[in-house]
Amino acid sequence: MKKKNHPLLGIHSFLMMAFIYVPIIMIIIYSFNDTRLSGNWEGFTLDWYVSLFENRHVMEALMNSLTVAVISTVVSTLLGTAAALSLRNMGRKGRSGMNGLLYLPVIIPDIIMGLSLLVLFSQLNMPLGKTTVIIAHITFSLSYVYVVVTARLSGMGKQLDEAAQDLGATPWQTFRHVTLPQIAPGIISGALIAFTLSLDDFMVSFFVAGPSSTTLPIYIYAQVKRGISPEINALCTLLILVSITLILLAQYILNRGNGQKKHKTLPI
C-alpha cells in the first residue's frame, strides 16, 4: 500500500514548481517583446521567431549543441553505469580509490578542465572540433551518471540477483531482467543530468571547440557583448515546447504498449 502525501507537501511542491517556472515564463513572454535591448514591454511581435529561422549562426549552434549533447549523453550513461556496476563488486579499498577518481571531474573547475584538455589535444595533434567537444563532455558527465547510479545501487540488496542466479539465470539474464529494471530510475536520472550539463556547458566547450563547432552556449556568451538577441528567447521557448511535446508523445506510445500487458507480473 502506498502512503498518501500530506497536503502541506503538495502545497510546497506546487510552490517549488512555480519558483522553477517563473523565470521560464519571463523568457517566454519576452520572446514576443517588440524590442531588442530594453527590458520594458514594448508590444507584441512574432518577428524574433521569423528571424530566428533565418539566422544561420543560431541554427548551426543549435545543431552542434544537440549533436554533442545526444552523443555525449549516450556514451557517458553507458560508461558511468558500467563503472557503477563494476565498482559495486569491488573490495572496500579499491572502491574508495576509484570513487575519488570518479568524483574528480565533478570537482575540477570548468576552466581547468577546458584548458588542460586543450593543452592535451594540441599535444596529441588532434584537430579541434565537434569530436573534441564530445570527448570533453563525456569526461565530465560520466561522473555525474556514476554518482547517481551508485546512489541507487547502494540502497539495493544483492539478494534478488543471487536468487535469480540460484534459479539458473545466466549473468546476462540476471542483469537484463533483475538488475537493470531496478536501477533504471537511477540511469534515467543520471542521463537527464548528463544531458542538461552538456546542453548548458560553456567553459569546457569553449576551449576545446574548433572551426564550425560553436555550440549554443558559446554563441550566447559571445553575443553578450552586443546584447543577447530576443531570438534566443524565442529559441528557448521553442526548445521547451518541443521537449515537452516529445516527452508527451513518448509517454503516450509507452502507455499504449504497456496497456496490453498491464496485469502481468514483473518480467523476471
Partner: protein, 350 residues
C-alpha cells in the same frame, strides 16, 4: 511503480537519442575561411557576398573576450585563419610570436584606412594587423537623473549618485581611468602611482551599483544606473534605445581601443584571409558592413556610401579633438600582477 516501464522508457530514449546523433553534418570540398571573432561582428549578407564572389565557404566562430582568445591561440592548433584581437592583445600576440606577418601586396585596399589608425603604436608599420573598428572609454549619463553638466572623471564621485554608478569590470580600464584622473598615463608601471589610483577608486565604491562590462548597456537603457563608464560604440547603442542618454569624453583624457584583423601563426588559408580583409576594405562593402554593425568605420573612402544618419552620429564618429585626448593601453609587463591584485582587493572590499 512498474519496473518494465522504466526499462522500456530507457531503451526508447537511447534509440531516439542515437538516431538524432547520427544526423551530424558532413563537410564540403570548397576552400574554407575559418573566422574566429566577436559575435555578430559582421553583416551576415556581406559574408555571403564574399562566399559567392570567390566561390568559397566561410565558417564563423565566436569568443567573448581577448583573454579567452589568447589562451586558445596560445595552446596552438586551433585551426582558425582570421582573428580580431584588440590593440593591446595584438601587441601581446606579436611579442609571443603568435601572429603571421601580413602580405600587404594582397591587401591593396589598405590605403583606404584613415591615417589616424595607420602605423599604430601597438603594431608599428602594420606588419601584423589592420584596424577594424575603434572607440573611446568615456562617460555615459542619463539626463533625466543627472542634471549637472558632466565633463570630468571626477563627476563620478558626486555623492548625489550614490549607488547609481556603473563601472567596467576590467582592472586595466578602471585603474587606468583613475590614473588619467590624476594626470598620469593609463599604463603606468610605477607601483606608487598605481596604488594611489586604486586608493582613489576605493573612495568611489559607495557610489558603485555594479561592475559590468557586457551588460552595462542594458543597465543604462533600463535606467538602473544613472552614470557609467562605457565604450563609445556602446554609448551609441544605448542612445539609440534610450534618447535621454548622453556621452562625453572627459577632459582629463581617456583610453582609446581598437579591434583589428590579424592572422594566427600556422593558419592554413592565409592568402584567403588576406583576400577577405581586402574585400572588407572595398568602400561599398565596408559601408554596408558598418551600417549593419553600427561601429565606427576607419575606411575614409567608405564615408560617401554611408547614410546621413550614420555620418551624423557623434558617438560613432568621434572628433579629431576628442581623439587627441586619448591614449592606448600599453602592456605593463610584470606590473600586471599589481593591477590584478589591487583590483581583486577593491572588488572584494578588503
Amino acid at each position: 511503480m512498474n519496473k518494465s516501464r522504466w526499462t522500456r522508457l530507457l531503451m526508447a530514449g537511447m534509440v531516439a537519442v542515437l538516431s538524432v546523433g547520427l544526423l551530424a553534418a558532413c563537410g564540403s570540398d570548397k576552400e574554407t575561411l575559418h573566422i574566429y571573432s566577436w559575435a555578430d561582428n559582421f553583416d551576415p549578407e556581406v559574408l555571403k557576398d564574399f562566399e559567392e564572389k570567390f566561390d568559397v565557404k566561410v565558417t564563423y566562430d565566436n569568443y567573448a573576450n581577448n583573454e579567452d582568445l589568447l589562451a586558445k591561440i596560445k595552446a596552438g592548433g586551433s585551426g582558425y585563419d582570421l582573428i580580431q584581437p584588440s590593440d593591446y592583445m595584438v601587441k601581446t600576440m606579436i611579442e609571443s610570436e603568435l601572429l603571421e606577418p601580413l602580405e600587404m601586396n594582397n591587401i591593396p585596399n589598405f590605403v583606404n584606412i584613415t591615417d589616424t589608425f595607420k602605423d599604430p603604436s601597438y603594431d608599428p608599420g602594420n606588419k601584423y594587423s589592420i584596424v577594424y573598428t575603434s572607440g573611446v572609454t568615456g562617460i555615459a549619463y542619463n539626463k533625466k537623473y543627472v542634471k549637472d553638466e558632466i565633463k570630468s572623471w571626477g563627476d563620478l564621485w558626486n555623492p548625489e549618485y550614490k549607488g547609481k554608478v556603473l563601472l567596467l569590470d576590467d582592472n586595466r580600464e578602471m585603474i587606468g581611468m583613475a590614473l588619467k584622473k590624476q594626470g598620469k598615463s593609463n599604463s603606468s608601471k610605477d607601483e606608487a602611482e598605481i596604488i594611489a589610483a586604486s586608493d582613489e577608486l576605493k573612495t568611489l565604491l559607495p557610489n558603485v551599483l555594479a561592475f559590468d562590462t557586457d551588460n552595462i548597456k542594458q543597465k543604462m537603457i533600463q535606467e538602473e544606473g544613472w552614470i557609467a563608464t562605457v565604450w563609445s560604440g556602446d554609448a551609441a547603442f544605448i542612445a539609440a534605445e534610450n534618447p535621454d542618454v548622453a556621452y562625453v569624453v572627459p577632459e582629463e583624457g581617456a583610453t582609446i581601443f581598437s579591434d583589428n584583423y590579424a592572422i594566427p601563426k600556422g593558419a592554413k588559408n592565409k592568402e584567403l584571409a588576406e583576400k577577405f580583409i581586402n574585400f572588407m576594405l572595398e568602400p561599398e562593402v565596408s559601408a554596408k558592413n558598418y551600417e549593419f554593425i553600427g561601429y565606427s568605420n576607419p575606411n575614409t573612402k567608405a564615408m560617401e556610401f554611408h547614410s546621413e544618419e550614420y555620418r551624423a552620429n557623434t558617438m560613432i564618429n568621434l572628433t579629431e579633438e576628442e581623439l587627441r585626448r586619448t591614449e592606448w593601453l600599453d602592456n605593463v609587463g610584470d606590473s600586471l600582477s599589481i593591477y590584478d591584485r589591487l583590483w581583486t582587493e577593491l572588488k572584494s572590499g578588503r
